[in-house]
Point group: C4
């Protein structure tokens, strides 16, 4: 069942330790088959060095296990919520990568301070609103997805142009058209978080990119007039 | 004698350099057999690349060498004190991992600023009171254990729920149900120390987790209602 | 065509990941044959692990593709402009190395605070003036070269003695007599950016090298009286 | 000639890149045969991956080349001066390791803030006085040794108990009873520089070890009553 997608999600999961995005088992990638309305996700708490494609768990868009012997990632309800509300995404990644976590713990957006950021993210990457006590106790992981979606709506952000968010005091989620692109975006987020930290320490002031520089870098890599890379 | 425990303690010691927790010989792991009241510890000053399981030293709960050709770790009296006063722990680790040392040198607790912390530590990891001149000169390593235990008592902390402490101006000790779990806790401590440093630089203010978020993350991984991982 | 130069430029490109100067495909090296007025550059967006010497693209000094199946680096107009205005350079490197980017995003020069800097750069490495909205929209990559050259002229800098610049809010360009030397200079820039960051945090004040120490270190490695290395 | 010493000095030089203490060729180790009054040093500017034991240069205590086809390290006069004035040392290391350089550029001592420091250095590691313009122009490398020795004399420091110094705006020199011990001390210096940076950022105040804790840690590893390690 979904063998090709499982292979793709497996490879994306295995790229997390290679890109230094995870310690121990702290990260998970999923990928969706939109036609069947099913997604594939890493099992909970399995070390990367022991993970096999057949360990992955298949979930439907109600968040129910459809196939798999293992418990799915405890973050499955967050993935479910995001797939339901961001209909154009094909993959989701959650990590505890340390620079992004440092900003999340500070409840700060990762601002757009350089063109590395603008090449991938068209705006600051938002720190979603913290969950209330009731939201945490009622349905923590589901409401984690909810606060991300709500934050994008409140701030009028396009989830395709800004494919990541921080969950306050927790860590980053990133997404993309495929599981591999979601991982790519998670890595970019970690790199710019590190750079932004140092830039903020140097400047102690806001020095965000002007809109025309954001436009230039974002659109030379994305959309119909992109001219970066091979086509 | 205690061959299985020696193998376990050997593996735990060897994981320290793999997890980037030690420079040169600056770290040691022990593990205890509670039934026999004996623990096994790394010999003093032996490089990891030369360490063999048979080099490990067996110690009783009075801190006396029971078996072994080599001198035990100079921190053996600290391990002895902790095993005597924290009766439910099965392994202890001491390292000089640099981020935890940075906080220890500042005599600061490692505060609970993110959910990575809450997944493993239910409270801030305390910086134990500095030893007095008399305590240092009389029985330095034994009193190092004493100040950790005293700090847990004074602050009313549960050593199972907060399985680590900083010794002021020195470095971290971590423990757990097994030697491997103690090492795991030592690594988590190092990761969150790094993240907390950066968060504190960004915020310059206290932004500790609310109790309900600490509860959620700690108890989704620990205790009877845990739902993280495979069971 | 230009097989030897292609090999040299290929090797220089492949040294970028080895020296930890690039993430993903974010960097490019070119090298020029001054007699033929042609330079060789990395194709756009090709991963280093897949790059082959025959993928490199040959460009003339008008910036036109002379040979090659692939699109050249999107930064080709910047390289073209620099080769036209810095007639003694033989190679150019652009990276998004994180410490240099942190200074570029802060629009700050990388000051000459230690002798590691003075061994390679005779002055501070300048942050070139930011491009205006019109310059970005009209010819972004060409004008990126223009602002570097203009900054060197305005500040009366010698591009051979200070073989690098930061493009504000973007990142570093470095150059040298050969592609390999350009890469060397890019690595030195990254190392001193990291050191300068920490020195500035420690001192919170200007502590630039006195001119006589800059002279000593620069001229013991460069020019007719150099005595460093084998000759 | 001095084959055994050459092998020892070669191994010590090769350990510098393994311990992440050098970039490119920026470091050198020497070792002395006190009976013959000759020392062996790395040649200038030779990459570590090409270095062979027979490339090492033999120097007498006047600083003259006694054997060797290659130019000795440009820092040879500094080594010569130190061997002449610190009669009990057997090896010297110079690196541009980045954390020690960051303190050197700030003209700051590396203070004794934790027991990792006290295990190896009995006092703060001093930043030697900056050279004057005349000293730099007259005999730069020789006077670099002179300012280190003068600083130890002025501050009444014991060069065996504090086996390293920073040269202001330049970088660290470390020494020891053997070339290997000098390298060990250079690595400890780099580790504590990194830790001290972070501790100083956390505390923004002096928090040096009390003398009795320095005594305890220094003397449990050094001198007749040491009890660390195997004997």
């Amino acid at each position: 069942m979904l063998e090709k997608l499982k292979e793709e999600v497996y490879e994306a999961n295995m790229s997390l330790p290679k890109l230094n995005l995870v310690t121990f088992t702290w990260g998970n990638v999923s990928g969706i088959d939109r036609e069947q309305g099913l997604f594939v996700i890493k099992p909970s708490g399995v070390p990367y060095e022991k993970l096999k494609p057949e360990d992955l768990v298949v979930i439907n868009l109600k968040g129910e296990v459809v196939e798999g012997d293992k418990n799915p990632s405890s973050d499955t309800p967050t993935h479910t919520y995001l797939y339901n509300h961001f209909p154009k995404i094909g993959g989701i990644v959650h990590t505890h990568s340390p620079w992004a976590v440092s900003f999340a713990a500070a409840k700060m957006d990762i601002p757009a301070l350089n063109t590395t950021h603008a090449d991938t993210f068209y705006t600051a990457v938002p720190a979603a609103d913290a969950l209330t006590k009731a939201e945490i106790e009622e349905d923590y992981e589901g409401n984690t997805g909810k606060t991300i979606v709500r934050t994008f709506k409140e701030r009028n952000l396009d989830y395709e142009a800004t494919p990541a968010a921080l969950v306050s005091q927790h860590g980053p989620f990133a997404w993309g058209a495929t599981p591999a692109k979601a991982v790519y975006n998670a890595k970019v987020l970690e790199v710019v978080a590190e750079e932004d930290f140092h830039t903020l320490e140097l400047t102690h002031q806001n020095s965000e990119l002007p809109q025309y520089l954001l436009d230039k870098h974002y659109y030379r890599k994305h959309g119909p007039n992109a001219y970066y890379g091979q086509r």
